[in-house]
């Protein structure tokens, strides 16, 4: 039944957008973090999406019949490699010899806009699932 795999497609979209939103929130939370386990200031992270077939018990038969790309998945998490922002704070424990502290290069507005986008896309996937659920329900009602 193709409708049940369509539910998995919607779910994969929700999972991917949630993963992206988590990274964006992490960026906002660490906007002032100067210490990380890897050393140096925190670096901005972002998700890279890739279309991928959804996993379903019956997928093997149907995916060969209907060659749709299907769902989406987070292929990679990229870390921003641009130079950190240097602020003059001589009293800071992480200051270098010249009194400059390296801060993460994070633009809060950019992350907020992406976060709204992720939230909207998440909602669009929920609408898709609701519409498909309605179709499945109507098919079940045929038997009544």
């Amino acid at each position: 039944m193709s409708l049940f795999s369509a539910l998995s497609v919607g779910a994969s979209g929700m999972a991917a957008q949630r993963a992206r939103a988590e990274l964006l929130v992490e960026n906002l939370a660490n906007a002032e973090t100067t210490r990380t386990p890897e050393g140096g200031p925190y670096r901005r992270k972002d998700a890279v999406f890739q279309s991928s077939p959804v996993e379903s018990p019956f997928a093997s038969i149907f995916s060969t019949e209907l060659q749709a790309t299907g769902g989406v998945a987070v292929a990679d998490v990229i870390t921003d490699s641009s130079a950190p922002e240097r602020r003059y704070l001589p009293g800071h424990p992480d200051a270098d010899a010249d009194g400059y502290v390296a801060f993460p290069k994070i633009n809060a507005a950019e992350d907020m806009v992406d976060l709204i986008g992720a939230s909207r896309s998440y909602g669009a996937n929920i609408s898709a699932i609701a519409a498909i659920k309605d179709m499945i329900q109507r098919s079940i009602d045929l038997a009544r």
Partner: protein, 110 residues
């Protein structure tokens, strides 16, 4: 007579579910770089005598974003509700056909 109508309805509902899956796929991939909107030629598939899975093709003529993605959420939202409503109509008609058979069986018993 019943066979012909229910057969057509079945094919119609099959195509609607296949199309709805592609719409869900397009919405899920709305932020995937380089993704192209997928769809089926509904009219041609419904008219063609050969059954089986419909042919999936990329939809052209949509504005392409900077990352090479051409998914239009407005278009997908329209198709999403359109497919759901068409399916609702088809399932109501199918229900009517089934009711006719059931009443024929009931009348035959008495």
């Amino acid at each position: 007579m019943l066979q012909r109508v229910t057969g057509q309805l079945e094919r119609y509902m099959d195509l609607l579910s296949a199309r709805q899956k592609l719409v869900a796929s397009n919405i899920a991939n709305a932020d995937t770089p380089g993704y192209q909107t997928q769809d089926i030629d509904f009219q041609a598939e419904f008219r063609s005598a050969a059954g089986g899975p419909p042919r999936v093709q990329a939809t052209g003529g949509l504005p392409v974003k900077n990352d090479g993605n051409n998914v239009s959420l407005d278009r997908e939202a329209r198709l999403l509700s359109e497919n759901a409503l068409r399916f609702q109509l088809a399932s109501q008609l199918m229900k009517g056909q089934i009711r006719q058979v059931r009443s024929a069986i009931q009348e035959g018993k008495g």
